[in-house]
Symmetry: C2
Subunit: 186 residues, 2 copies
Amino acid sequence: MREFALYSRKGRTDSRFTSLREAGRLDVVHECIVASLFLSHGIRRNVVFHILLSGPPMPPLHLKIDGATLRNVRTDQETWKVILKNVLSGKFHPGVSVDKISFEALLKAKADEASIYVLEEGGKDIFKVAIGENPFFVLGDHIGLPKKVEGYALRYGEKISLIKQPYLAASCINILNYLLDRKAAI
Amino acid sequence: MREFALYSRKGRTDSRFTSLREAGRLDVVHECIVASLFLSHGIRRNVVFHILLSGPPMPPLHLKIDGATLRNVRTDQETWKVILKNVLSGKFHPGVSVDKISFEALLKAKADEASIYVLEEGGKDIFKVAIGENPFFVLGDHIGLPKKVEGYALRYGEKISLIKQPYLAASCINILNYLLDRKAAI
């Protein structure tokens, strides 16, 4: 299994929005969903994507999208606006779940079964790291990880870097999927 | 310089649309624009992104986005809906231009100055190819390159592959940028 966790500082925690962008940049979350879970005409069944929404009105909220059970989806923003609005208002969508767990509690629960990595430009070069079984990658959104959250994640994980340039979160996810796919293909 | 060219089979060639998705999947074009030209909080000044629009009502149309002169942009879909509608109705936006050149003519013009590569799962593994100066990468959209267009591109270029799985076009662009950035950083 392969997991990604995006910390969204401003992502809205209810369904009262008309555009993903204005809902605390849930459009960035959408891009990361596509990067983590979609191939061309297919879903990555071995990927789980977590989003930690920390925006108003009732943070924190943990959204989990499980490629193994995800159904009735397409890649476009409009489709995901509807799905996110639905699950944030308590409706069901296959493969998408919501709970009130905090990031700290999620990381603690994962620490036993997964290898946790925090993505940051200053981390150790990924080509010099032997990525473990069941990797769990922590990423910040366009604002970056709060220091407190990063500190917590580093109790359980290691700081790694793709390159010394600041990439968009969705780009990082695409690249991580690629590096792991190549590794698996050898 | 680094160039990407996306062949969009259905991308609309006028500004009469209300959603990018319904304009022949211009939302896919938007994702590729972001992947090719944007870092976190920055623009890749060394990248040019070409889109060959082949949808109604008056194909072909060549849209060129030049990172060197691109201004007044953000990454979100709404921003790019406005920019694309503007340039498709003849208005000016810095760094974005439109002309009636065909894909064939564009490739022919590039063949002298650039190293042309056509991205396809069946191509030669990119790790076994010495990517030349000024690479120019040709990609299909979600439907894929028409055989005729591919044949034309291969007169001037080489078929290369990132991996044997079919990735989304925007994912391919993110990965290509990464591989070239790493090469440049060594």
